[in-house]
Subunit: 469 residues, 2 copies
Amino acid sequence: MMCGTVVVVLCAFAVMPILALNFTYETKYLDVPVDHFSFASNVTFRLRYLVNATHWRKHEGRPIFFYTGNEGDIEMFAQNTGFMWETAPEFRALIVFAEHRYYGQSLPFGNNSYSEPKYLGYLTSEQALADYALVIAHLQKDQDRRSPVIAFGGSYGGMLAAYFRMKYPHVVAGAIAASAPIFQFSELTPCEAFSRIVTADYNSASAECAASIRKSWAAINNVTKTDAGKSWLSTMWKLCKPLKTLHDVKDLKGWLSDVYTNLAMINYPYATNFLAPVPANPISVMCSHLPNSSLTDKLLVKSLFKAVSIYFNYTGSSKCLNIETEASSNLGDLGWDFQACTEMVMPMCSDGHNDMFEVQIWDFAKYSETCYKKWKVRPDEKRAVRFYGGKDISTATNIVFSNGLLDPWSSGGVLYNVSNSTVAVIIPEGAHHLDLRESNPADPVSVRTARKFHRKFIRLWLRNYRLPA
Amino acid sequence: MMCGTVVVVLCAFAVMPILALNFTYETKYLDVPVDHFSFASNVTFRLRYLVNATHWRKHEGRPIFFYTGNEGDIEMFAQNTGFMWETAPEFRALIVFAEHRYYGQSLPFGNNSYSEPKYLGYLTSEQALADYALVIAHLQKDQDRRSPVIAFGGSYGGMLAAYFRMKYPHVVAGAIAASAPIFQFSELTPCEAFSRIVTADYNSASAECAASIRKSWAAINNVTKTDAGKSWLSTMWKLCKPLKTLHDVKDLKGWLSDVYTNLAMINYPYATNFLAPVPANPISVMCSHLPNSSLTDKLLVKSLFKAVSIYFNYTGSSKCLNIETEASSNLGDLGWDFQACTEMVMPMCSDGHNDMFEVQIWDFAKYSETCYKKWKVRPDEKRAVRFYGGKDISTATNIVFSNGLLDPWSSGGVLYNVSNSTVAVIIPEGAHHLDLRESNPADPVSVRTARKFHRKFIRLWLRNYRLPA
């Protein structure tokens, strides 16, 4: 997992409920072209999608609820989008979760898929949307009365749901786009906005907590200046691999940044399972270990270890802290890193003053170099805005953009009504797409209201749905 | 030229005014990616576009009039779209004609461009639209106040103008889509509709004319049954290459079909130049040679030769009739044939009863085989509807669809208002995108009105144009 402020990864797929596998489905596959936009090759691959038709009234043309899969194994999304499961029966809807190409089992070139640009280059959002259009055509193909489709998605999946409605309004009748940072692109949103929201989350838990974290960077630097200090911290933090170099210290700080960001995204009001389990309201729990920012460096570093333990070792079963856990072995991370290095360029920065992070400037040239070294591709900073419109989405219809204000990704979210039919839903107490999760007794009123709002709009879209004459 | 009823070619590019080269422009080039929708390769090529900035008030953010080039050399479109030239001064607009990739000088792989699918496969409408979006970004890049863009196009270019507004509403403020047969796809329009309109054009010139043509197929078959008959016709018609086989006779009939169709498209109220010049109202002139459908076969065939002479030899300078003229050597034809064999599958047929053509059924399997033999690609019959929505375009905004009712392509045109902001303009006396041509004293009132209507809508779109905050 690399859900950090600088390494821009949307981490929707990382969140799993403690009670996993509540929802059941059939696993299906459809052959789709690797390249929808040329006739240069006719290679196809098997795209995976999950289907539950328990409630569907197919021949009455009842709707299809279609999750536009994002950067991860589609089964994780199926398990973490309880809202679709809970809402489908009322609408007699088919439930579909379509896997995003290059993730999970949907690998266009098998084990070679990630090997070089000539294979990996077809990992783009436009190709994914074209895949989804084919899956839908397939689902509707023997219907006398075509089912309207409602797209759902969270995070990057929410962006895809919204883009799907914008680009294929004839395929999708409406979209619930949860925590979709479609404004998180160059020149649309200040690069520091994300870090500031993370910081605000810790600040509202306690001002001392955010201040402690802000001070901790220097404390870590000071403590680890000497070999003895590195050794002390390594022992104290039970690092699986002791710190040896400055680079190791930098990695540790990077890992910490990611932890803070991840916790801000999954700061849910009930316990969830994210690689290791975390408790309800994890930021508050974590911050309870950081009540005092005026500690000495060593004491601060000590407290910090206790604090972050709730993230990596809440159950107490971890023998040592491995800051490389899941680093780059995870397909989701790898794929998103490529997407961030091509079309999904989301500038991020921090100033250490208005946020609690170390100073990090946004340097596109450097970013581009790093991308080229990793992937042999160059990011196209303006591409997403050129294709999807940036803030110029006034013609979009039938989209609900929902954002939790605890969620750092709300920095790039649509927080105002764009028109009568493209509207914003704000969930003040919500973290990353909380509204798409199954309902829970601990849910705040705002997310319950948001879900009612979603249902109201879905009903409206379906009522207004007309097939052309 | 193969502008026929069965070989589906949109022939906009073939029409040239007798007074050519009235309009002047700078020729420019922009490097664009061969493939906009993957990162598998970073090959680029030079896309040509023509610019006239005489009237443009760039720094006031005055509009860009942008012709979305279609299947031919862009200079032909620049010379045949007088409406843009005549309208630009009033709006202080920049005039741009962008060439469609794989036509004219815009060849992605130079001389190899047409050699095999791995080169030719990037000839798609989606790629062309992405090219245009880049050209526009380039034109706007040093503007403080971004110019709104009005897209214009005729025929396939009109389809592109409409699609451009649908898919890139943030790039294009509105579109004048003239004679754009966006409904000429499978299951949207009966395949015989096109042939019937051609027939109606000849019928309104004179019922005897259409009846003569309907009878002529059998007359030609009868006359050419014997070698002596073939020889007689070859001499009588001054064929450059005498008829020898049944296949030659079939080619002759194919050529005739194309002539009738072409004349229906360019049935303008003033003389124009189409390979060879034709007079004003060419169908009437032609039909004046076919006043009597009850002639004997030989006499009918004789009259027919006189009739079609107005098409291939109006000036009398042609020494012999070459039915292979321009057959497949023309890039425009070749390229369109490929597009018709991939995404632009437009079913065409005739029954010889309700129309004046020989019976020709629409056989997709056979069509697909022919395509595969020619190009090593298979047509995707449903692709255009999947990508562009078919008749399901209710969310489209700011598009004028204009159609002349003399134009056979109006069979696939949008002839009704789709919404308040996507409207139809009918030009009863108009042939193929007459409204985009420069004004002429012989223009019927309906086309003058249509042009006023276009201007009114352009004014409205520009008045309502808002940049996002």
